[in-house]
């Protein structure tokens, strides 16, 4: 589904991703861990199509198309979703209005029938229940005045509603209390499906107890430096990233 090869990305004149390669097949869950500033969010932003991220080398293939050629809204319609590390507050834009506009814009682009308000609200109710989100949040402006945890749950709620094929969750677990963490994990697990892939960026092994990954990767200094199964996360927890760095140096030498 997703094939990233030797990706080099410059941001603000600095090279941040330095030859990153990663392949994710439908049905898989990939966890990405790595130190602060390693380039994890950069990867998420590049996949979602944010401006200001200059790809200098390498390729990203998604569903047999060149993902890098698509506008952000085209990627969304093609099934790419990014749960932001820092969801944006948008005063004056009602959350329900926003969600329905987004969903219908995607459907329209895919040539599907748009949902009327009854169909839309039915779908909203179903998804809200899974995430135990308060109805009231729907009537507020997008993320405005939401608590940190509410913002993160709202991201997962949006994912549930938009039903993407490739979801990148950027530290969706950060700042969540233990109950909210379980809700988010439930939300993701409910969507696990042979036709869908997840990339879960996290700093904490704890999340991976709930969302059990098929693969764990370590992203350091703009590259994937180590890949393994879920036990890699446990080793990282125990030894820290220095351990990976040492192994990499040793391996290279």
């Amino acid at each position: 589904m997703l094939k990233i090869e030797n990706l080099h990305v410059r941001v603000g004149g600095r090279e941040i991703l330095k030859g990153l390669s990663l392949e994710a097949k439908a049905g898989e869950v990939h966890a990405i861990m790595g130190p602060n500033g390693a380039g994890k969010s950069t990867l998420g932003n590049v996949l979602a199509g944010r401006e200001g991220y200059e790809v200098t080398e390498g390729s990203v293939e998604y569903d047999r198309t060149n993902l890098l050629e698509l506008e952000p809204e085209e990627r969304a319609a093609a099934g790419v979703f990014l749960a932001f590390q820092y969801p944006v507050e948008i005063p004056g834009v009602n959350n329900t209005y926003f969600l329905r506009s987004a969903l219908n814009a995607q459907r329209k682009r895919r040539g599907e029938a748009e949902l009327d308000s009854v169909q839309f609200l039915k779908r909203v109710r179903e998804k809200l229940a899974v995430l135990h989100l308060k109805d009231e949040l729907l009537h507020r402006a997008v993320n405005e005045g939401f608590s940190g945890g509410e913002k993160k749950r709202n991201e997962i709620f949006q994912m549930a509603l938009l039903e993407p094929k490739l979801a990148v969750l950027d530290e969706t677990d950060s700042g969540l209390d233990i109950d909210a963490l379980k809700m988010v994990a439930d939300g993701v697990n409910a969507m696990r499906d042979p036709s869908r892939a997840f990339i879960v960026i996290t700093h904490y092994q704890r999340l991976l107890d709930y969302i059990v990954p098929d693969f764990v990767h370590v992203l350091a200094d703009g590259r994937i430096v180590e890949s393994g199964d879920k036990t890699l996360a446990l080793k990282l927890e125990e030894h820290g990233y220095a351990w990976v760095a040492q192994r990499t140096v040793a391996g290279a030498g």
Partner: protein, 441 residues
Amino acid sequence: MSSALLHSLLDDAGQTSGPDWLKQVRVEARTRLLERGLPAARNEAWKYTPLRALESRRLRRVAAASQPVDVDPGLYTLAGVGSPRLVFVDGTLRPDLSDVSSVHGLAIESLGTALERDAQSLRASLGRSFDADAQVFARLNSALPSDGAVIRVAAGVKVEPLLHLVMLGSAGAADAYWQLRNVIELGEGSALRLIEHHAGGQGCSHLGNVVNQYSLHAGARLDLLQLQAAPDSVRLIRRSDAVLDADAHLEMRCVEAGAQWMRHDLAVALQGDRARLVSRGVFVLNGRQHADTRIDVSHQARDTACDLVWRGVADQRARGVFHGAITVCAGADGADALLSNKNLLLSDQAEIDTQPVLEIHADEVKAAHGATVGQLDEKALFYLRSRGIDEAAARSLLTLAFCRIAFDSITNEALHGQLDALLLERLPRAESAADTAQVTG
């Protein structure tokens, strides 16, 4: 400075009717105008809206036609707003288009009728002389006989229906001039909700000159929406003067969404203790539109409050000007003054000038003001696009959200929706955005 404009309008003043004091007012205003002319570019109040081009034009007053022109009511119909309605076309009341079925405690007349019936009661309003050269168009308004609306609410009466006052120019009246003088008086403890609506069909290129005078007696409350949606071919000059007695409250929304060239002077005198002004406003400009809003609030009594939040959006080669001056006079202790003005530039060639001015001569005053000019928030734009909303729609959505603060508190949903639609129409690439608005309706 001699002015073709002034001469073309004043030389043939014709016969004027009315009581002697009113004739005197006109003569004085006329003399003063011909003596002083239009303000030069160096006049601070007209610095950003030069009058040179206008000055050299010869205009002609639209005479009341014996055969009233056809006007499509669709031009001014607003969702959620019915009667009472008063419609002025080219500066003349059109009883055939108006509907002023009697409402308890509310008196609505044309200025002409009101003058015939009881001129004396209008002396304070019509006798006002506009001394500063900056007020030249109000002076011009005073120099010429005028029609307009006289709206009075009896003490203690809270008028239930929303009053719709429509002012428009008729198509085809090229180089025409019309004016109106509206007098609105709210008795003690009374309340009124009023929409002043500038509309019109495409193709007219008149200059409209409107003076509104509001007096709010003690404890009165006026909820006012000024909706300026004149066609993009007209010039419009408005002056709104409000005087508030003790505990009076003026709640004002201004939506500037039309006219090729427009100037609005809003002057509010908080004369009585605890008088309060809340003003929200927005202008949305494109093409080569020019809009200049000049607000002047003066706190003249104790514990008075004003709260001004204005937004401006300019696209293409449009030019917006916002001047917000708040003066807290000596003795007006305990005043509370707030002014915020934020602006969005949607193109490199658009321009917005904003000047907040705060002058304080009293004690224990709480005052804050701020003004910014910027662009759309790129983070918010990306967030919307990453969810599938296309760029043009996302831009419109964010811009509309930015403007909405001007009328968010309007609870009439149909009207709110129409204001949304009206602004969306003026935003870039509105088609896709209108789609978005529809599917979320």
